[in-house]
């Protein structure tokens, strides 16, 4: 390598090529599949991957005209929102107590809350199924929804505790003390000092839970007893069972637009701060 001259910049070329080939182009391909339809060879505009296709917007109208699909969308977002709220209500006191208590020295107690994340996610969900079966919550189908909810809260709770804790532990004690000195009751101090200051933690907890619970169908498949279908599942069915890649891509594109829109609106995507590294710090 002695004669070869290169600068540090050029080290990034393989990664840049990889990003374009397997992140950017695939997303464009989803868009292409979403706006095309499989047709007989003589009516085709062009071929992709050996399949003759032509442009069509009917994929979208097909999807949104089925009431079953709309129901799935409602169930998905409903479950995700309820999971997020329940998780926040359980996790906030945990994070609050951990950030205060002295026996959480060096974060030892915190590690106990994060430890389950190190066990395979599907196995953890399966364990929850065994437990729910053990305590008798599998007797009737009316428990399907609540079982799925329990599983989701269980699986994502550490993801909520962590960002809340890391924000709460950094809040300067003197704010609360000042508030108390000025005569505020503990409840008032919490509501008007601690809670607003911990808002960034709440936002990042929501962003870590809301999307995966909308789309990751492992939990609803394992615990829902076949009665809970979420939006990720229809994509999988279209793709792996129905072999209709165009319909699958259509729903994926709808999701993609929702995701990027919400990222854009929350301003996260342009933020210099490494918010998404927050997830990396969890492990």
């Amino acid at each position: 390598m002695n004669g070869l001259k290169f600068s540090r910049k050029q080290l990034g070329i393989p990664y840049a090529v990889f990003l374009i080939a397997f992140v950017v182009v695939p997303l464009l391909l989803i868009t292409l599949y979403a706006f095309t339809k499989k047709v007989p060879a003589d009516k085709a505009t062009f071929t992709i991957a050996g399949e003759s296709v032509s442009f069509a917007v009917s994929n979208f109208s097909d999807f949104f005209s089925k009431s079953a699909n709309i129901r799935v969308l409602f169930v998905s977002f409903g479950l995700a929102i309820i999971t997020t709220i329940v998780s926040l209500f359980i996790a906030y006191p945990v994070a609050y107590i951990l950030s205060k208590t002295k026996f959480n020295k060096g974060g030892v107690l915190l590690v106990l809350f994060i430890l389950p994340l190190w066990i395979n996610f599907v196995l953890r969900t399966a364990a929850m199924k065994e437990l729910l079966y053990f305590v008798g919550m599998y007797k009737s189908n009316s428990f399907s929804f609540i079982n799925t909810l329990i599983g989701m809260v269980y699986d994502y709770l550490p993801f909520v505790i962590m960002p809340l804790y890391s924000v709460l532990v950094k809040i300067d004690k003197s704010y609360a003390e000042a508030s108390a000195d000025l005569g505020a009751k503990p409840v008032t101090t919490f509501l008007s000092v601690t809670l607003p200051l911990s808002m960034p933690g709440i936002v990042s907890a929501i962003s870590m839970v809301l999307l995966p619970t909308t789309t990751s169908y492992v939990i609803s498949d394992t615990l829902g007893n076949g009665n809970v279908t979420i939006v990720g599942k229809i994509i999988e069915t279209q793709f792996l069972t129905m072999d209709n890649w165009h319909a699958g891509s259509t729903i994926a594109l709808v999701l993609l637009v929702i995701i990027f829109l919400s990222m854009f609106l929350s301003g996260k995507f342009t933020e210099e701060e490494d918010e998404s590294a927050g997830r990396a710090n969890l492990w």
Binding site: M1, N2, K5, F6, R8, K9, L11, G12, I13, P14, Y15, A16, L19, F22, P26, L27, I30, A49, P93, V94, I97, V108, L109, L112, F113, L115, P116, I119, N120, F121, V122, L123, R124, A126, A127, K129, E130, L131, Y133, F134, Y154, L157, L211, P212, T215, S216, Y217, V218, D221, T222, G232, E236, S249, A252, L255, L256, I259, D274, S276, A280
Partner: protein, 267 residues
């Protein structure tokens, strides 16, 4: 005082709920009953023996580990090079690559999975080991990049320049100066990549060859498609082993971490 007791018992309660499923499987991994809930008189290490002699399941475990190591290794090399490259690029390139890096993290996994399946099919290797590996690299490489970049930011830039002035080639300077400085970031990126790969179900199921199994797909097939309880009691033994290994890992990891911070503190 009362506040402390209430707080303590709340923490204990949540911890108990968090560990209840894990402990249930752990206890029942020593019992031969087909179903959890019925305590069979036979108990002992039989399930562990069954796990060991179940060739299908053992092959699955090996598959999973090999895949995670391979994906982790590729992601680490690619991601480290990428992180160094983008860090020293112009601001615009850096910013663009940074945002592209975040896409697989922000995006829903099922969307990423479809996109990989589509592109690999177009290139003619859909549902092969190659597409599986690529899927796992896409999933894990952002975490390597995001672990390395903070270390690059902390690094003293003059060192690299100094070594160049002393006559080292850029290649040598990278291996001599940059890599050792950012090594902690590279290692934690590698471990993170392995962990995420081990955990993955959705991307695996969209990109894997149809006969290939990982722990995630095996457990999913046993539990989600199966009945109320798994027909494979040996999975309880697997679960218990994973749990113990993870505890050991985390304990050792935090021990090293706390020693390191104590050493740094005393300096």
């Amino acid at each position: 005082m009362v506040k402390k007791i209430i707080g303590g018992s709340y923490i204990t309660l949540v911890l108990f709920l968090l560990y209840a499923p894990i402990l249930l499987l752990f206890v029942y991994s020593f019992n031969m009953s087909r179903e959890i809930g019925i305590w069979s008189p036979e108990w002992g290490f039989d399930l562990y023996y069954k796990l060991w002699s179940n060739t299908d399941l053992m092959e699955t475990v090996v598959n999973t580990i090999v895949l995670a190591l391979a994906a982790g290794f590729i992601s680490t090399v690619l991601g480290t090079m990428g992180a160094i490259g983008m860090f020293y690029s112009s601001r615009r390139v850096n910013r663009t690559m940074n945002e592209l890096t975040k896409i697989p993290i922000i995006n829903a996994e099922v969307v990423t999975a479809i996109s990989i399946a589509l592109i690999c099919t177009m290139f003619g290797f859909g549902r092969s080991y190659a597409s599986l590996l690529i899927g796992h690299v896409v999933l894990t490489v952002p975490f390597v990049v995001l672990s390395v970049i903070p270390k690059l930011k902390q690094m003293d830039n003059n060192l690299y320049e100094a070594v160049l002035d002393l006559g080292a080639t850029p290649t040598k300077a990278i291996f001599l100066i940059v890599i050792p400085e950012i090594l902690p970031g590279i290692i934690s990126g590698f471990l993170l990549a392995i962990n995420i790969s081990l955990d993955d179900y959705i991307i695996t199921s969209f990109t894997k060859p149809s006969t290939f199994k990982t722990i995630s797909t095996y457990v999913y097939d046993a539990y989600a498609k199966g009945g109320k309880s798994s027909s494979v009691p040996a999975l309880r033994a697997l679960f218990a082993i994973i749990f113990v290994v993870m505890i050991a890992y985390v304990v050792i990891h935090s021990f090293i971490q706390s020693r390191k911070s104590r050493l740094e503190g005393s300096r």
